[in-house]
């Protein structure tokens, strides 16, 4: 009984699959002058900075010295550019949508690089934090709303009226559309964070079990190769999710901007 209790305690306090998402101070300054502000570099800030650093270095180096014919590195960058450009052109507007291209590009790279950094063992998945993704999604939807009001004035509310709806149903439909418009805030951020979080937790739990299996005997070591194969397969799946979620986030952002520009 005692051992069981110890095991449970051990599991709870030491080996929770959520410990990998804990934020820790790396460098912290207490500033009593500025109202006791804690100015600190945490591990999430460290990894976000590292992602920005990688982005800068990759873009700086993979230019193939500005030659017209690219090598494989610059072609990878060009195809990334072409992919995002086609997203912007198709989702927003071929003419008016182009000014949002740098933002969409930066958003995609930011999410993708942070997803990929999270895939490296012992590192930190910044995009699994709901605060981060909700901050992004709320800002995007709020910005799109401001854009819509700026462009259309009070006519922007016609976004809430579906085309050709009977007058009797109008109050109900407007309410539903309004709720769905508000739900965009949540759904956009929740989708990204929940996907990354669930993937990392799944991998961590499976890896913990597999480690316990493989260290408990020579037969079990070979038996443990089967779940190990599953873990590797899931890692590949997570790699795909890292790309797909970044793309989905960007496509939906483009769709919201388009709604604000064109009102359906």
């Amino acid at each position: 009984m005692n051992t069981l209790f110890n095991t449970v305690n051990f599991w709870r306090y030491n080996s929770s699959p959520l410990t990998q998402f804990e934020i820790k101070d790396l460098i912290s300054i207490d500033t009593p002058i500025l109202g006791n502000l804690h100015i600190s570099i945490t591990n999430i800030g460290f990894y976000l900075t590292m992602g920005a650093f990688f982005l800068l270095i990759i873009n700086l180096l993979s230019t193939n010295y500005n030659k017209l014919i690219g090598n494989s590195w610059s072609i990878s960058q060009e195809s990334l550019y072409a992919t995002l450009h086609s997203i912007v052109v198709n989702q927003i507007n071929p003419k008016n949508g182009q000014i949002y291209f740098p933002f969409i590009y930066a958003l995609f790279i930011f999410i993708l690089i942070n997803n990929l950094i999270g895939m490296v063992p012992y590192s930190f998945a910044s995009t699994s934090h709901f605060v981060l993704t909700f901050a992004l999604s709320f800002t995007i939807v709020l910005g799109a709303t401001i854009l819509g009001f700026q462009k259309h004035g009070l006519e922007f509310f016609s976004l809430l009226v579906p085309a050709g709806c009977p007058l009797g149903l109008l109050p109900l439909l407007v309410l539903i559309e309004f709720i769905s418009y508000l739900a965009r805030n949540i759904s956009l951020g929740l989708r990204l964070a929940a996907n990354i979080l669930s993937g990392h937790m799944l991998l961590h739990i499976l890896a913990g079990f597999t480690y316990n299996i493989m260290t408990s005997g020579i037969i079990f070591f070979f038996l443990g190769l089967i779940p190990l194969a599953f873990i590797i397969a899931f890692s590949g799946l997570e790699l795909g999710i890292a790309f797909i979620q970044a793309q989905v986030f960007v496509v939906l952002t483009s769709g919201y901007i388009k709604d604000a520009l064109d009102l359906h």
Partner: protein, 101 residues
């Protein structure tokens, strides 16, 4: 000559296709002249070698230049791995070295 006879004659006489004058009056000639003009002004020979300078320049010349390789991806993963392990070790792993989980 009436219109009808002219039309009849023109169908009888084959059009002049293969004459040196017709080729010389090619509307593409002006374009070709411009293309030739442009390319004749370009510097000749193989492109000058860019001498890599600095740490980043030498890294670029080694992995991003003539024969690009995927090694920078491995380097990035290793960098993240090492810094991540160092943080994990400092905060967490050293406290239960013989008590693995």
């Amino acid at each position: 000559m009436s219109f009808v006879t002219r039309r009849a004659l023109s169908t009888l006489i084959p059009p002049k296709v293969a004459s040196p004058k017709a080729i010389g009056a090619n509307p593409d000639a002006v374009r070709m002249q411009r293309v030739v003009n442009f390319y004749s002004k370009l510097p000749r020979g193989s492109a000058p070698e860019v001498k890599p300078t600095g740490l980043l320049g030498r890294y670029q010349a080694k992995y991003f230049g003539k024969n690009p390789s995927a090694a920078p991806i491995v380097h990035a993963i290793l960098l993240v791995l090492i810094t991540g392990y160092a943080q994990n070790y400092y905060f967490h792993l050293r406290h239960h070295k013989n008590n693995a989980h």
